[in-house]
């Protein structure tokens, strides 16, 4: 099976972010970067599929400046076979612009499966995977929390709010992977050694036009805390109201 996994380099989310001087990006000073969490799961899924079949080829693709090679190397050290950097000065915020560049690269690749993480943990748009699928006219499953492949068909599950759904589709296909599906392995020492010798190809990214941009970034208001909303079970309706209208988590 020939599998492509599209991965993104993102800052470590444990960081306390600061807004850069331009007012529309995050200050890069002191940030640590790694593969986006969901993308790690996608790489793991690809490797397990390959291992299960006993053969196959996993290509990892990342778009961005030279630093993304570090992220690609990590995927190679986990066990991917080859890597492609689609070179761009920066990663646009616009999902369609990225999807166009990826589709151009993936179009003639002959992949049976194209995997993405469910979303990039930094920009949190969750659009590139399904957009790429549409551009390639391939069946698409998003946010797969489980995946089985047999006889050229896939069965996958997606978690919904308080429910789940099972969908079936033929390969080749584009699948975005939810967390929890398969804990990503740590690169072994031998894997890291081997990764240095694996091919990493650099090509210019054929980005689409950018229509979605960040005008400004700001930090959410600091937590104030200390608000007692009531006593005992009688306070529950007020809590539910606040969770819904103010915190917007229900």
């Amino acid at each position: 099976m020939k599998i492509a996994v599209c991965i993104k380099r993102v800052p470590d989310m444990e960081t306390r972010f600061k807004i850069a001087a331009d007012g529309k990006s995050v200050d890069q000073a002191g940030l640590k970067f790694d593969m986006s969490d969901f993308d790690g799961y996608a790489v793991e899924v690809a490797l397990r599929l390959k291992e299960k079949e006993g053969q196959g080829d996993v290509t990892v693709i990342s778009l961005g400046p030279a630093v993304v090679q570090e992220t690609l190397r990590k995927a190679l050290s986990m066990g991917a076979d080859r890597a492609v950097q689609l070179e761009a000065e920066s990663v646009p915020f616009d999902g369609l612009a990225i999807a166009k560049a990826l589709a151009a690269e993936l179009k003639d690749g002959g992949y049976d499966l194209i995997l993405f993480g469910r979303m990039a943990i930094d920009s949190s748009n969750q659009t590139v995977g399904p957009m790429t699928a549409v551009l390639l006219d391939l069946p698409c499953m998003t946010a797969a929390s489980s995946l089985e492949i047999a006889g050229g068909r896939a069965t996958a599950r997606r978690e919904l709010e308080g429910a789940a759904e099972i969908l079936e589709f033929p390969l080749p296909a584009v699948i975005t992977i939810d967390e929890g599906i398969a804990r990503p392995r740590l690169p072994s020492l031998k894997g890291i050694m081997g990764a240095k010798k694996k091919p990493l190809e650099v090509k210019p990214a054929q980005l689409g036009d950018v229509h979605l941009t960040v005008a400004r970034m700001e930090l959410p208001p600091e937590r104030t805390g200390g608000r007692i909303i009531g006593e005992g079970p009688d306070a529950v309706p007020e809590l539910v109201r606040l969770l819904r209208t103010e915190a917007k988590v229900l």
Binding site: P11, M13, I19, K24, F93, D94, G95, L96, A97, I121, D122, S124, N125, Q126, T127, P130, M131, A133, V134, P139, C140, T142, A143, S145, E159, E161, G162, A163, E165, I166, L167, E168, F169, P170, E179, G180, H211, L212, A215, R216, L219, P220, R223, G225, G226, R227, I228, G232, P233, A235, V236, V240, L242, L243, R244, T245, A247, K248, V249, L250
Partner: protein, 328 residues
């Protein structure tokens, strides 16, 4: 005058609350930008047309109903093709979806079919000159981005809960339409809808964490937290070190400096006093709810919402209320 499109999400033939949010958002946007009609799309098995009336009350001027026996479950390719065709054919400035699980699957497909970019998970929505302007949380909510989308139509998914559904009392014209592609030709086939899913999520990954401390008194009472987690459907159950050291819960469930560090959208601390060691593991949660008998407990100092009371009494009531809320 351009119109506004809204996708009305259903499950099992019933409108979801997020459908009303999308229609309300479209209505407010249309009103704020000088009028124009709101066209809502609802897709489902025959009978789903009955939902048009409610969509009208929430602000739809026109409800396009697509009924087909094969569309009793969400069929991504059919719905995407149908929505794209409608949006393409109409004079729409903005197309509003919910950033629900289904909406996040559907909206990028529609945008790509239309050849336009989109805004995801918007917490505000405004048309300014020739751009759509929104706020969108990035970096796990630690940063808010104000984003600008040019081009028309603009596809937007709105964060669930960001816009409260509001009735505006109109009656919608109902139009029926056929699916843009034959449901039987769809490559991605929905096989099953599993309700009341309580898949055990990993603590570090669950959007909601329900956590208990010594205030629960005996290990058996953790069942109350499991019920609350099940009511959320996307929750995991955690515990304090005191509890895991007692062996009430496995060590892997421990949240704190020496255990798991979590930062979910919602953290509910039940019967937890808030030792610094515990706070260190959860204080970056987006919203914190504390339920504790002791009004002086340190957990209240960092909680967004505190209820002074016995967790054993409050939690079951909360579980029922969450179940109710989730039904809508």
């Amino acid at each position: 005058m351009a119109n506004t499109f809204a996708y009305a999400e259903t499950r099992g033939g019933e409108l979801r609350r997020v459908a009303l949010e999308a229609v309300t958002a479209a209505r407010q946007l249309a009103d704020a930008s000088g009028g124009g009609e709101v066209h809502a799309l609802v897709v489902g098995a025959p009978g789903v047309a009955a939902r048009a009336e409610q969509l009208g009350r929430y602000g739809a001027d026109v409800v396009t109903v697509v009924e087909d026996p094969a569309l009793d479950k969400y069929s991504p390719e059919v719905v995407a093709a149908t929505a794209a065709r409608l949006i393409d054919a109409g004079n729409f400035r903005v197309a509003v979806f919910s950033a629900s699980a289904q909406g996040k699957d559907l909206s990028p497909r529609v945008a790509a079919k239309l050849g336009v970019s989109m805004i995801s998970d918007a917490t505000s929505l405004e048309v300014k000159d020739d751009a759509v302007v929104s706020h969108h949380p990035v970096n796990t909510g630690k940063v808010i981005a104000a984003v600008t989308l040019t081009g028309s139509p603009a596809v937007v998914s709105v964060r669930p809960g960001a816009i409260a559904p509001a009735e505006s009392g109109s009656t919608a014209r109902v139009e029926s339409a056929k699916p843009a592609i034959d449901p039987a030709s769809a490559r991605v086939v929905p096989k099953e809808l599993i309700r009341g899913n309580t898949a055990q999520l990993d603590l570090g990954e669950a959007p909601v964490v329900v956590s208990g401390g010594r205030g629960l008194k005996v290990p058996e009472n953790f069942k109350l937290l499991e019920d609350l987690a099940a009511a959320f459907g996307n929750a995991a159950v955690g515990a304090t070190r005191a509890v895991t050291d007692e062996g009430w819960r496995p060590h892997s469930d421990q949240i704190g400096q020496t255990g798991r560090l979590v930062s979910p959208d919602l953290y509910i601390a039940a019967g937890i006093s808030g030792a610094i060691q515990h706070l260190a593991g959860m204080r970056t949660s987006r919203t914190i709810v504390a339920i504790n008998k002791d009004r002086e407990a340190p957990i209240f100092k960092i909680a967004d919402y505190g209820i002074v009371g016995d967790a054993l009494e409050v939690v079951p009531v909360l579980t029922e209320a969450v179940k109710e809320a989730k039904k809508e």
